[in-house]
């Protein structure tokens, strides 16, 4: 669906802003919002560009930078911390060769931190796109990443 088609599915009321931004972002392989997107959305809802930009940067699920095919979100909340998420974070930095907030050169992975994923029963956990991977240790983490690399 094009951006214009997405916009047309919504009424022109400002309470639809978050939903529209979600849809536009999810519709792209690189999972992000461009300035052009924000401009068009602000025109559509009759809001200022600054307002829309402010909203898009407030919420952690929106990104204004292109992201990788696989967005890895590492849960940093206390339950995961207690069960060893620090080791998981360090290991990911090592395996992928990037820091948090960065994307690998091949465009395969983006590494992000996230607050509680709500899957504390299987801590420590990460989320890759829509899927949760829990009860992680170094070995399992390695397997998960390798599998994602193979799928390409």
């Amino acid at each position: 669906m094009s951006r214009e088609e997405i916009l047309k599915t919504y009424d022109q009321t400002s309470d639809n802003l978050l939903a529209i931004l979600h849809d536009i972002q999810d519709n792209k392989d690189e999972h992000y919002l461009t300035r052009e997107d924000l401009k068009k959305v602000s025109d559509y809802l009759d809001l200022t560009y600054g307002f829309v930009h402010g909203v898009a940067t407030f919420y952690s699920m929106f990104s204004l930078k292109p992201r990788g095919k696989n967005i890895i979100r590492v849960c940093q909340s206390p339950p995961c911390h207690l069960m060893g998420s620090t080791t998981i974070s360090k290991e990911l930095i090592k395996i992928l060769g990037i820091k948090f907030g960065e994307t690998t050169k091949d465009g395969l992975f983006t590494l992000e931190m996230t607050s509680c994923l709500g899957v504390c029963g299987v801590a420590p956990a990460i989320m890759i796109n829509d899927q949760v991977y829990g009860n992680l240790n170094k070995q399992r983490l390695y397997e998960v990443i390798e599998e994602k690399r193979r799928v390409k």
């Binding site: 402010g54 952690s60 940093q76 206390p78 911390h81 607050s115 509680c116 899957v119 029963g121």
Partner: protein, 532 residues
């Protein structure tokens, strides 16, 4: 409709999916087909059973036997023994519902121990995506009662008031009273909002309610909307909760089809519409006024109170905001009456509470028990005690904005009043258990990091305070601190408590003060170790 000899329930949640529940389901379907049992056995995908860390589980009804760690290999054993021969497959780890464990033998203790379930009563017994299933199991009978007996909105509010139900989102405000404020507020148009922006670390009860029994929430919203005088309701769900959003949407669509939502519900004069609003990742939106701003399409900034949402909420109109778990109590209270509900729990904290037990315990997961159940029982009996036979050190009760409870407070009863006496809070009901090897300083560091990230930045006390606290604990962790820095942390948190605009900044006093008061030695060790 054919009648089945037995039902095989397959709880699907994040935990079981990861352990391969989908493959097991396919295998199960294949095997049932092969054994020619399709006419006799029905396989049902349900919401969570509450047990986590036990792999794929299946429950065989009517025998009420739960099997754990089901694999393709032992699945065959279950089918051969239980489904075909009708006896329990002893080789596979299992338990019975309602089976009381021998107290001494912790082997049989666990989350399947008898619980008092009101909120989660249907959660793993029904197909959450089928309204017919829900209706057969007593769904929507609260709504039916109100309209068939023509109970007035005032009488509904009176019933809820009398039940003593208090908000399960953290603050514990009496629900009936909250409703009466919105009802009494002047205004033609009113709104009912369900706060499903569950972001408190260690809490996932609302997700499991929405995934396991979405219709219960729809029913509760209809009743609440009717009581407060709203014709439009919103369910604001966290953006990360994909499955919850999907199931709630499906439930709304089905309810519309059955005229339980929409214009003139069940041919009465009452019309009620429901809409989902999806969050986008901001912890602060769990605060009700921030949630309202976010719902309006703005940044989620908490508002200055008063005016309260009851008078000026969504689009400055009278609004009532309730938590998912609070609402999930409503249908049963209406159907069975407030006196029935009051039989559970304590005098001032009636009913049940859903707790999530996490961290260093044998059986992490969620349980629903009566208010006033001692913490010790929850951790050692339901949670199976400390993992690996280690000693208990602390429990962080109530989520990140909770309190570190030491061993001497293990016998505290889990209700609003008892916890208040022990300077603790019920909060979201998360219980994070830590064993003897846990470093409390490190845990507090993790909490402070979380708050520094999630502070919305609107008021400077919280924006700066959270980072000041983080800096201090960085120093303590590295051993580059003095003893007075420990007390400085408490002082900052106290200032934040006095000055912050919303509960996010105000609540940091809880973990900071309790960690420092109860585990001061942990802090001193860090400082002294490096200074030596």
């Amino acid at each position: 409709m054919s009648i089945y000899r037995a039902h095989i329930l397959l709880p699907i949640d994040e935990g079981t999916i990861q352990s391969g529940a989908i493959e097991i389901k396919k295998e199960l379907e294949k095997r049932i087909e092969e054994e020619n049992l399709k006419e006799e056995i029905k396989i049902l995908e349900t919401g969570t059973i509450g047990v986590i860390g036990k792999g794929v589980m299946i429950v065989v009804y009517p025998d009420k036997v739960t099997y754990y760690n089901v694999t393709k290999t032992n699945l065959n054993n279950i089918i051969q023994e239980h489904i075909i021969k009708g006896r329990i497959a002893e080789e596979v780890e299992h338990s019975y519902e309602g089976h009381k464990p021998v107290e001494k033998e912790y082997k049989n203790v666990g989350l399947t121990r008898e619980q008092q379930r009101i909120v989660l009563d249907k959660c793993w017994k029904i197909d959450p995506e089928s309204i017919d299933d829900v209706l057969a199991y007593g769904g929507y009978r609260g709504v039916e009662k109100i309209f068939s007996e023509s109970i007035s909105p005032e009488a509904v509010i009176e019933e809820i008031k009398n039940s003593g139900l208090r908000g399960r989102g953290g603050a514990g405000f009496p629900t009936g009273l909250k409703w009466s404020f919105t009802r009494a507020a002047k205004g033609e148009e009113k709104f009912m909002i369900c706060n499903a922006d569950e972001g408190e670390p260690g809490t996932f009860k609302d997700r499991l309610i929405m995934e396991g029994d979405p219709h219960k929430l729809i029913e509760a919203m209809i009743i609440a909307g009717y009581a407060v005088g709203a014709n439009k309701g919103y369910i604001y769900i966290r953006g990360e909760y994909e499955l919850s959003i999907k199931r709630i949407q499906k439930a709304i669509d089905q309810a519309l089809e059955y005229n339980l939502l929409g214009k003139n519900i069940l041919e009465t004069n009452f019309s009620f519409y429901l809409e989902i609003k999806k969050g986008a990742g901001a912890y602060v939106c769990g605060e009700e006024t921030a949630l309202i701003d976010s719902l309006e399409g703005k940044r989620g900034y908490p508002r200055i109170k008063p005016p309260f949402p009851a008078n000026k909420g969504l689009w400055q109109k009278p609004t009532c905001v309730n938590n998912v778990e609070t609402l999930a109590n409503i249908p049963e209270i209406i159907y069975k009456g407030s006196n029935w509900f009051k039989k559970f729990g304590t005098e001032k904290s009636t009913g049940t509470k859903v707790f999530t037990i996490l961290g260093h315990v044998e059986y992490p997961g969620l349980i629903e028990v009566e208010m006033g159940t001692p913490l010790r029982e929850i951790i050692f009996s339901y949670g199976g005690g400390i993992k690996g036979g280690k000693r208990f050190k602390a429990a962080l009760v109530g989520g990140s904005a909770g309190v570190f409870l030491p061993e001497r407070l293990l016998d505290v009863k889990m209700d609003f009043e008892s916890l208040d006496e022990s300077k603790a809070v019920l909060g979201s009901g998360a219980i994070l258990v830590m064993d003897e090897d846990t470093d409390i300083v490190d845990m507090l560091f993790s909490i402070l990091k979380f708050f520094a990230h999630e502070s919305c930045g609107q008021c400077s006390v919280c924006r700066i305070g959270t980072h000041q606290l983080l800096n201090l604990i960085y120093g303590i962790r590295r051993g580059q601190a003095q003893e007075k820095d420990i007390d400085q942390m408490v002082k900052i948190a106290e200032t934040m408590f006095d000055m912050s605009l919303c509960p996010l900044g105000q609540s940091l006093i809880m973990p900071v003060k309790s960690a420092v008061e109860n585990f001061r030695q942990d802090f001193l060790n860090k400082i002294q170790n490096k200074n030596n």
